[in-house]
Homo-oligomer: 224 residues x 2
């Protein structure tokens, strides 16, 4: 029993998948109200009614986009977690930042959509959520900030959210920041990675053990 979303993913050439892909990009760029169904249809090269035929109304399509992005993000986080599983905390942060940033810069609409969802309201409430709490809990555990991924402390959650926000911000803000810094894309990406490492690593690594017992590889500082 496949969901329509899975079907669409399965065959990226299908009309349904093509619409989803374009919708994902445009919703990310212009937000919910800034994107019209006509914009999407035009970009795909089809009539609006075809769009409605496949995805229902605008809200349904938006929810599908959010779920789609959510799936992708979760899958990637899992991959990163597997990759860095046995390293020291510093190494884990280094590699995670590199890998996540490469991924996000390849799919900037993910960051766009996540941030828009945090920061902006929609007039007609859409009730599909990014699984931020679940994701953040997992990351917190993986970073040694929480023992139980199901019950991370607020402080641990906030540290994780800081990390994710920092990453998303530079991806999503590329159009704004990069011209300002006058960097080409490659150098911008490199600079972002370095900046994130500059900011994040000392916090988690240098304060390790400052509070408690610190396995050099495991539990980071913060008792909270």
């Amino acid at each position: 029993m496949k969901s329509p979303l899975e079907k669409a993913r399965k065959n990226p050439e299908s009309m349904k998948a093509r619409i989803l892909a374009v919708a994902r990009r445009l919703f990310g760029e212009y937000g919910f109200h800034g994107t019209t169904t006509r914009m999407i249809a035009k970009e795909v090269g089809i009539d609006i009614s075809t769009l409605h035929y496949h995805w229902g109304d605008k809200n349904d399509l938006y929810e599908a986009v959010v779920m789609d992005v959510n799936n992708d993000l979760g899958r990637e986080l899992l991959k990163v977690e597997k990759t860095v599983h046995d390293s020291s905390l510093e190494e884990r942060l280094n590699v995670s930042i590199d890998q996540m940033m490469d991924y996000l810069f390849d799919h900037p609409e993910i960051s766009n959509l996540v941030l828009l969802r945090y920061f902006s309201k929609t007039r007609n409430e859409v009730d599909v959520d990014f699984k931020v709490p679940e994701f953040s809990g997992d990351i917190a555990r993986a970073m040694g900030l929480a023992k139980d991924a199901k019950n991370p402390s607020p402080r641990a959650m906030m540290k994780v959210m800081s990390i994710m926000n920092g990453m998303h911000s530079f991806v999503s803000g590329e159009n704004f920041f990069r011209p300002m810094l006058n960097l080409d894309r490659k150098n911008y990406i490199r600079a972002v990675k370095e900046t994130l490492k500059f900011i994040l690593i000392p916090a988690f690594v240098l304060q390790e053990g400052k509070t408690k017992k610190g396995r050099s590889s495991g539990s980071a500082s913060a008792k909270n």
Copy 2:
């Protein structure tokens, strides 16, 4: 010779100022396309045509809002800079974070509007900009990251942007994050300040002096 914006500020009871205040909040909450002139007029309790009489079309009003927010933010940054002028870097960061966060949490629409401007496009380009480069340059100089506020290095700019983004994110994302963490407002604000200090202070304080030639934590292990 007063600009209409200054006039509006001068007399907060004036219709023009009331419209501006409401527009500021709503544009921050719903973004440009998510806010209709009717929403604004209704909230103020006036007819749409009155709104147009005072502020011209929707774009003009939005530009006025952006400039207004820009002024406020610049003024506050200046105030913070004065306050922390003679302290150590660590103390400067501590106080700046406390003061800026109190200010931003009192005026959350500022963070909303700044972030929306970074991250989201508007269909019809509005061409008023936040003075991010100027502001960031000043902050970079104030933090000892750049000698000349006019010519900060890209890296210094990005560090400053990291700080500002981190601050804005938690203010703007309050509606999303706070219920997730199940904190009341007071405790949320306290937790945000602590988290920001946890993240930011080590980076800038512990690495002070190291930043000149070789960054310490950067690409140590990451060869990209």
